[in-house]
């Protein structure tokens, strides 16, 4: 039930707003340029590139969440992490990338799930460099992990997100694993002396 509600919200948004669209090739090229520049700056130290992409995503996420809240017209918090996953996949990704990743592989405690990306607008036309390392070390779309981490932190959820497979590396699917670490408490006003 929650799932159909979430997809309806995503669809509704797209109908309600004649949203400005940006050319897909522009997105692919812009994002690609960032990754290439990072690879150059860090001498193809792909572990560091992953880290930088995640950090950039984090800073985007901190802001993007406000836009998400404004656009999605959600008035209340998700009551559990499963609902959060639905909203991420069916509203968040729908609004910003017009894709709906599949939610699977829940752990029994409901704190970890996977997003499987059937399509990934960032990765069109992309082939990883043939230097024998990129295929094993670079997570090309790692910025998305950071975005989720930043966005969820703003709504009081500390999460960890990382890719576990990527079709660019020759895997069958592109899968991101997301784990809830904890809910963050409200900050209290400083005590008066």
């Amino acid at each position: 039930m929650a799932s159909s509600k979430a997809s309806r919200l995503g669809e509704e948004y797209l109908e309600r707003t004649r949203m400005d669209k940006v050319n897909a090739e522009l997105v692919v090229l812009t994002y690609g340029t960032i990754v290439v520049q990072l690879c150059k700056d860090f001498d193809s130290d792909y572990v560091e590139v992953n880290k930088q992409l995640d950090k950039m995503g984090y800073n985007i996420g901190l802001r993007l969440i406000e836009d998400y809240l404004a656009k999605s017209n959600t008035v209340r918090r998700c009551s559990n992490f499963r609902e959060t996953a639905e909203m991420i996949a069916k509203v968040g990704f729908k609004i910003f990338l017009n894709i709906t990743p599949t939610i699977t592989n829940w752990t029994s405690d409901g704190k970890q799930f996977s997003l499987v990306f059937d399509e990934n607008p960032f990765a069109d036309f992309v082939e990883l460099p043939d230097d024998g390392r990129a295929q094993d070390e670079l997570w090309y779309s790692n910025i998305l992990c950071g975005v989720l981490r930043g966005a969820l932190e703003m709504v009081q959820m500390q999460v960890e997100a990382h890719f576990v497979s990527d079709v660019l590396r020759g895997n069958d699917t592109t899968e991101m694993r997301i784990s809830l670490i904890r809910y963050i408490d409200d900050e209290l006003p400083p005590e008066d002396d």
Binding site: E66, L69, K71, R76, R77, L188, P189
Partner: protein, 155 residues
């Protein structure tokens, strides 16, 4: 309807924006309100007011949730002289507006301020900082003008 003042508090409980729309005491005004020693006694310290207001709304919000469940929301309270309206986003941004007592719910107005002014002019400004320590990045021209126009349009 009269709007007296407006405050924004961030998730770190800091007051990052405040504005008052008190009746004008400018020299152009032919009839300043009678009584008192002019406008000087009106406000001792805006910073203290903001702290008191935050303490109040924060406690009320917690109390409301305790009694009414997590989905309940503190909306407003009214005294003999004013009405305080409260709106909190999921990202823990708190908007507070003080109006006269006859004003109906301003929840929608505060929501509009959030989506049309805050998100558009503060959050989406790539050069404004993410955290608004001391109000940094909030006092930009677009936001202030937009807010003033919007609120004056209501009155």
């Amino acid at each position: 309807m009269v709007v007296y003042s407006f405050y924004i508090f961030d998730r770190h409980t800091e007051c990052i924006y405040s504005k008052t729309w008190l009746p004008s005491f400018s020299s152009a005004d032919p009839s300043p309100p009678a009584g008192g020693g002019g406008g000087t006694t009106l406000r001792a310290s805006t910073a203290d007011d903001a702290k008191l207001i935050f303490g109040t709304v924060f406690s009320l919000r917690n109390m409301v949730r305790k009694l009414g469940g997590d989905n309940d929301a503190f909306v407003s309270y009214r005294t003999a002289h004013y009405k305080l309206h409260f709106y909190e986003t999921a990202s823990s941004l708190r908007l507070v507006m003080l109006t006269d007592t006859a004003t109906l719910s301003m929840r929608n107005v505060l929501h509009q301020i959030y989506i049309n002014l805050w998100v558009e002019y503060v959050v989406k400004n790539p050069l404004s900082p993410v955290e608004h320590k001391g109000g940094a990045g909030v006092r930009n021209e677009m936001f202030e003008m937009g807010l003033d126009q919007f609120v004056r349009g209501l009155m």
